[in-house]
């Protein structure tokens, strides 16, 4: 991929600084010399998730080009971009379930914090109920886990005894969110958590995300639901062709694009002609 030749890539330098009342602590960039710049509140706490200089290729296809990103405790960062732009790949690196070709990811101050992860297509062992499934994962954390409470938070109390293979696509995703919440991790990586949910559940999901952030959880999520993203996220990072083309609070992105809303701004920032399948 040619460097910096597209209008989208030119927007890489439209990086905005976090607003004073935002918990954001860092910016993103595709250039190594412009690694995360501390925001106004950065001295208050160490980033919950910090990625530096991530590059990755699948064979000859470069999917990430030297991207850096940090997420502060209590911050909601939304990762948006066209299909195939490298979002899921980046989120796997941030969840530390895959290693990039180059770059480092640190979770917590000394890398010791667990990150809750919702994969793009969450899967579960069939034959078990939703409650059984969460009880299984609860065994891997030291704290006492209130599984019924988790099911209630994600709106699955009524389906606690339903087998996972009998859950709808949206309910399966909610169970995946519940699984990510087991043990109250300090950082959450959610890959399209709102996909397949009805509008009411989308609002509920973003409400859950807001509540978690208010309690200090650092959250990075990818989503195509730009309306709720615009209302909920502290920062929006736009990924296109493996590079960040914008990183700012949603209002700043909308204003800098001269658009009416994030949906319209998104259309001006990225090219959605082709899908590379990342």
């Amino acid at each position: 991929m040619p460097d910096g030749e597209t209008p989208a890539n030119e927007a890489t330098e439209t990086v905005a600084t976090a607003q004073p009342n935002d918990p954001a602590t860092a910016t993103t960039t595709g250039a190594p010399e412009a690694n995360p710049t501390p925001g106004p509140d950065s001295s208050a706490s160490h980033p919950a998730i910090e990625a530096t200089g991530l590059s990755h290729a699948f064979g000859d296809v470069r999917v990430l080009e030297d991207v850096s990103l940090s997420v502060a405790p209590g911050e909601i960062v939304a990762l948006v971009g066209p299909n195939g732009s490298g979002k899921s790949t980046l989120l796997r690196f941030l969840a530390k379930v895959r290693a990039p070709d180059e770059g480092t990811v640190t979770i917590g101050e000394a890398g010791e914090t667990r990150v809750g992860y919702l994969p793009q297509q969450p899967g579960f062992r069939s034959g078990f109920s939703a409650e059984d499934t969460l009880q299984f994962y609860a065994q891997f954390v030291d704290d006492e886990i209130d599984v019924p409470d988790i099911l209630d938070r994600v709106g699955l109390s009524g389906a606690a005894n339903r087998r996972v293979e009998a859950l709808s696509g949206g309910m399966t995703r909610l169970l995946g969110l519940g699984r990510a919440l087991v043990g109250d991790p300090d950082a959450l990586v959610l890959d399209e958590p709102a996909s397949g949910l009805d509008p009411g559940m989308v609002e509920r999901l973003f409400g859950i995300v807001s509540d978690l952030a208010a309690d200090g959880t650092a959250i990075i999520l990818s989503s195509h639901n730009l309306g709720p993203v615009e209302r909920t996220a502290d920062r929006v990072v736009v990924l296109d062709d493996g590079r960040f083309v914008a990183d700012a609070p949603p209002r700043e992105i909308v204003e800098s694009a001269g658009a009416a809303d994030l949906q319209t701004a998104f259309g001006t920032l990225v090219s959605t002609d082709g899908v590379d399948g990342r």
């Binding site: 010791e112 994969p119 579960f124 034959g127 994962y137 065994q139 891997f140 954390v141 043990g183």
Partner: protein, 275 residues
């Protein structure tokens, strides 16, 4: 918010995973059906064959070929997709975020599935043994001279060796499930290794002998290379004491080597560490 450091208790993780595997096995109709078929086959061979009427040792000789063929089949059916299914469902990724180690995960899967396998194999053989007194004639006619050599202990030794054999084949199947990236790969590897174990190694030994590549003294050691050959040698050398082709220790090392080697492969290939 949890400030707890990552967990390091592999034993607890292993038990949690083993429990889920065991529960999965008993809820999988195909595996339950295959286990029933295995048990019925052992009972049918016992009832239909002449061995059980002669005592425990003849029964062992009746059962050896069936156990050699059916135990790997059952073990492979139980294990060949265990890790692969978790990988394809994305559960391996999620388990890693809970700081579950590879040895704890693989050990748990092996323990859970092996418990089910051992229960079926050992249980079926015990049922077969229990049939001997029932099926044996009250006054043996031709075994009077042989009675001292026949004992339930011989059959128990055989059953224990069958369990070791089952563990070795289960470990191999688990290694396949960890190394394969697609269901097709797993199936191809499973079938290929099954054929190799059942006939391939024996045929290779014969071919090597016929071509003069190896001497007659080396053939027993070649046979001990396969789990089936090692099991057979142990049965004839230890259980019924008819004189095995290989020393029991060599054959035992052969089986143990398969268990350790296969589990090591499973641990290494289950997932690639991020750091």
């Amino acid at each position: 918010m949890s400030d707890a450091p990552p967990r390091t208790n592999d034993r607890q993780d292993l038990v949690a995973i083993a429990t889920r595997e065991l529960r999965t096995v008993v809820r999988t109709p195909a595996v339950v059906a295959l286990s029933v078929v295995f048990g019925l086959t052992v009972v049918a061979v016992t009832a239909a064959g002449s061995g059980s009427r002669g005592g425990y040792v003849p029964l062992v000789l009746d059962l050896v070929p069936f156990v050699e063929a059916l135990v790997p089949l059952l073990a492979f059916a139980l294990c060949y997709r265990a890790v692969l299914s978790d990988r394809q469902a994305g559960e391996l990724d999620v388990l890693r975020t809970f700081d579950v180690s590879r040895p704890a995960y693989v050990g748990g899967v092996f323990l859970g599935r092996s418990l089910a396998l051992v229960t079926v194999v050992f249980g079926s053989l015990l049922v077969a043994a229990a049939m001997v007194p029932v099926l044996s004639p009250d006054k043996p006619t031709f075994l009077a001279l042989n009675e001292a050599a026949d004992s339930p202990v011989a059959f128990v030794r055989f059953a224990v060796l069958a369990v070791l054999f089952a563990l070795a084949t289960a470990a191999v199947a688990l290694a396949i499930s960890a190394a394969a990236r697609t269901a097709r790969q797993a199936l191809a590897l499973a079938i290929g290794l099954l054929v190799a174990f059942l006939v391939g190694v024996d045929a290779a030994a014969v071919a090597a002998l016929a071509s003069g590549t190896v001497g007659i003294d080396a053939v027993p050691y070649i046979l001990a290379v396969s789990p089936n050959g090692a099991f057979r040698s142990l049965v004839f050398g230890v259980a019924v004491e008819t004189g095995g082709a290989v020393s029991p220790l060599t054959a035992l090392l052969g089986l143990g080597g398969w268990v350790v080697g296969a589990l090591a492969v499973a641990v290494v290939t289950a997932w690639r560490p991020v750091e």
